[in-house]
């Protein structure tokens, strides 16, 4: 693009880009790190090792693992039938799968409150079984599953549809069963989109805030995930502590971005 390479055009634009990068991307990250250590390294470690923090780490990881696993199963199943079979209501299915994407996280939490609250459908059943969902980890798991629902399916479906059904049909024709077809024919072709979907889902699950904030009840030591713990500490004006916990999430974020780059290569990540 020779046309636009003149210095008068290039450098102002580059400066704007730099400015943006520094103000909105680099400074906030730097702030988190410096504020986390602002009261000393030992205080930092104390915060990280505190029972509340450890519990939050456990809960966040548990919710992440459960939701990614569940959505992996459902995502693969949905992609399988959408790509290889014809049935009425496919469009509806696609829309329903995408639904969690377009919903505000707070609404995502709200719908589970409504479903399981005292006036909800399941209350009598749960009451009798003495199971608590709302304001307990199960609700957190459900809300997290909801917000990460589309990720795996959305990566798989375009890839499988573009690839066509012929290899799987041929394999079935030659007498292969479901396991053989999946392992030998389909899986090698979807390794990358599958991993990509899982990485995206993991990022979202770990960082989910709004939906979990609604359903968790914020009970310290019981229903605080890492993001909620960050909020709790910040609201109590314990800024260094809040940022310290935030660094844990930051580390995971960097890992995830790094993994993404490995898998997809630069510039192709454009999901939200």
């Amino acid at each position: 693009m020779q046309l636009f390479q003149s210095k008068k055009i290039k450098w102002p634009l580059v400066l704007i880009a730099w400015g943006f990068m520094i103000i909105l991307l680099i400074l906030p990250i730097a702030l988190v790190i410096t504020q986390a250590f602002s009261t000393g390294f030992s205080h930092y470690l104390t915060v990280l090792a505190s029972p509340n923090t450890l519990h939050a780490i456990n809960l966040t990881i548990a919710a992440t693992v459960v939701s990614v696993f569940v959505n992996l199963i459902i995502g693969v199943s949905a992609a399988w039938i959408i790509a290889f079979h014809d049935f009425p209501g496919k469009r509806l299915l696609n829309t329903l799968i995408d639904l969690p994407f377009s919903v505000s996280p707070v609404i995502a939490g709200l719908i589970f409150i409504l479903t399981f609250s005292r006036t909800g459908w399941f209350y009598p059943v749960l009451q009798s079984l003495n199971i608590q969902i709302i304001f307990a980890p199960p609700a957190i798991f459900l809300a997290t599953i909801f917000v990460t629902f589309p990720f795996v399916a959305r990566e798989l479906i375009p890839v499988l549809e573009a690839r066509g059904r012929e290899e799987e049909q041929t394999a079935a024709f030659l007498g292969a069963n479901l396991k053989d077809i999946f392992m030998q024919i389909t899986f090698p072709a979807i390794k990358t989109p599958l991993l990509t979907g899982m990485v995206l889902a993991t990022a979202r699950a770990m960082g989910e805030f709004g939906a979990v904030a609604v359903v968790s009840g914020n009970i310290p030591g019981k229903t605080l995930t890492l993001p909620l713990l960050v909020q709790s500490l910040y609201d109590q004006f314990k800024f260094p502590d809040a940022f310290a916990v935030a660094t844990i999430l930051l580390i995971f974020t960097f890992l995830i971005v790094f993994l993404q780059r490995l898998l997809i290569g630069p510039k192709q990540f454009q999901k939200g």
């Binding site: 041929t170 079935a172 030659l174 007498g175």
Partner: protein, 359 residues
Amino acid sequence: MYIQINHISKAFQKKGQNVLHDISFGVKKGSLTALLGPSGSGKTTLLRILAGLETATSGNASIDGHAIESVAPQNRGIGFVFQNYALFRYLNVYQNIAFGLKTQHQPANEIKKRVTELLKLTGLTDLENRYPNQLSGGQKQRVAFARAIAPHPKVLFLDEPFAALDKQIRQELRIWLKRLIHQLGITSIFVTHDHEEAIETADEIVVMNEGYVKQIGTPNEIYNQPNCQFVAEFIGRSSVLSSPNLAGFMLPEKPFVTQIRPERVQVLKKDESTTTPGTLESATVKDVVFRGATTTVTLDLHGQSLLANRSSLKPGLVIGEHVSVLIEQLVLFKQDTSTLKKNQSPATTAAPLKSYAIN
């Protein structure tokens, strides 16, 4: 018949039109049959119905005496070669060919024996470790073929097997396939829209159009004795003349249609003559196209266009030139209200023109 098709029909779900109308015919054991027709003729649908990839609305079929409805597609003993080969991208050539044997749980050494034999048969021995994306179109085709016949199927179906190949490869592979299928003696049906391919390769041709079977016969029969205008026009090149006034033929009342093959038309300049008996017509040259060994001449015969083949070794023609034309034979179509019939009358003079009474 080894493969028997009885009254198979298939309706479109939405439009209420039929993709296939009451198709019935049989295929002899060991025969290489072509389903020939333009797109939309239903030929691929019919093949896929036989294979179990689609369902018919009514009718039934059997292979080797077994009704196919009662058997799942993978158990019908059918080998299928798809148009795009559908080779397994993440398996190499050996694994692709072995696939159908592995699903049958054959012992490993048996599989190795069979695959090696097939690799040799298809000339792919050096390629067994390659992956599909490292193969040429022709090689992929041969792998697809080997994979289909590896599990000793009773019948072999091929869906436009050469459509994706270059012309040169297509012709080589055609010959190769025909030879191989005859060598193996496996009953085969292949679908094509290329009439040359069907005529060159098949033992028997089923011509289809718009969901109907138009004609069944050997390549010779289909070519020289088309039973309707569609078949006549679809196979090879020809001229179609409406109610021409041709002195050398006994022709019925108008209206009627005649189909004339260019190789059956001799063009004679003023000073040329022919030893073929028959009554000549007068015509004017409209166009001359050099095609290498032959030259195609377009003639104006009583106001209608007539194509003729003329050897390029003979003296050239000029547009506007007046010539004599000897039509050796033609196919006549006289339309009734609902059926197509062909009649041809013998020549009146000393020219023994061939005639075919068909139908």
